[in-house]
């Protein structure tokens, strides 16, 4: 799944512990939720100041979804 790889590539580039990055797609009828897990110490790296990094990742995800005519949401889990 390319979209899973997209989030994985971005998250791995952002964190200190790339081997601890996992993305699990949970497919619903209308929407696919991507559950992103990172090492607890890397949480701030994927969320960013006032959530700006997470917001930027969601913007990229939304645009990729538009190309596929599918909806995706990103959940960042501890």
């Amino acid at each position: 799944m390319e979209i899973k790889n997209l989030i994985e590539a971005i998250a791995k580039a952002l964190v200190d512990n790339p081997d601890q990055v996992t993305v699990r797609p949970v497919e619903g009828e209308q929407i696919t939720v991507l559950e992103l897990r990172v090492h607890p110490s890397d949480l701030g790296k994927v969320i960013g100041k006032q959530g700006r990094t997470a917001r930027s990742i969601r913007t990229i995800l939304g645009a990729a979804g538009m190309k596929l005519k599918k909806r995706f949401t990103l959940e960042i889990l501890e």
């Binding site: 959530g51 917001r55 930027s56 990229i60 990729a64």
Partner: protein, 171 residues
């Protein structure tokens, strides 16, 4: 990573990492875009204008520039964060598409001048729409010489915006 790199080495190091992450995002995101790196000799706006520009072109340029270039800004933010560009180098990198940065800067300058005029005429502060730090800076600089107003950034996070205050009462 304590090895001392020359500025040129540091720069080509960043460029390689920027290029590889941008490539992955374009590929996995299914974006129909091509990116090229352009070095300008800082001939742009102001002494610290971006010197290294990652330029995008292709059929998905429109997608990149929708909603005031939300996707272009998001890409720039994430990629520069990931590459961890030193603070002193950060302003030197910029992502662009179809000359957007220049067009947007001109648009912001015009907006700033019109808003200042309105603030002076009405004698009340003019609140601009929320902008990121680069865009707020353009507005502040555009009105630096205008003594009839002073500008402040107010609010926090994504809702931070420039407010233009008249310094004189309306005549």
């Amino acid at each position: 990573m304590t090895t001392q790199l020359s500025p040129e080495q540091a720069e080509s190091n960043y460029l390689a990492r920027i290029g590889s992450l941008v490539g992955e995002i374009i590929h996995y995101g299914g974006f129909d875009l091509k990116s090229t790196v352009r070095k300008s000799n800082a001939t742009g706006e102001g002494p610290d204008a971006a010197e290294i520009v990652v330029n995008f072109e292709g059929p998905d340029s429109d997608l990149l520039l929708e909603k005031n270039a939300a996707l272009l800004d998001a890409l720039e933010y994430v990629v520069l964060k990931a590459v961890r560009v030193d603070d002193e180098l950060n302003g030197r990198f910029s992502f662009d598409c179809d000359g957007w940065r220049q067009v947007r800067a001109e648009e912001l300058k015009l907006t700033a001048l019109m808003a200042a005029k309105q603030a002076i005429e009405t004698g009340s502060p003019f609140h601009l729409t929320p902008m990121n730090s680069r865009e707020r800076r353009i507005v502040h600089l555009a009105l630096k010489e205008e003594t009839a107003v002073r500008t402040m950034s107010e609010g926090s996070g994504p809702s931070r915006k420039v407010v233009i205050y008249p310094t004189t009462s309306p005549s």
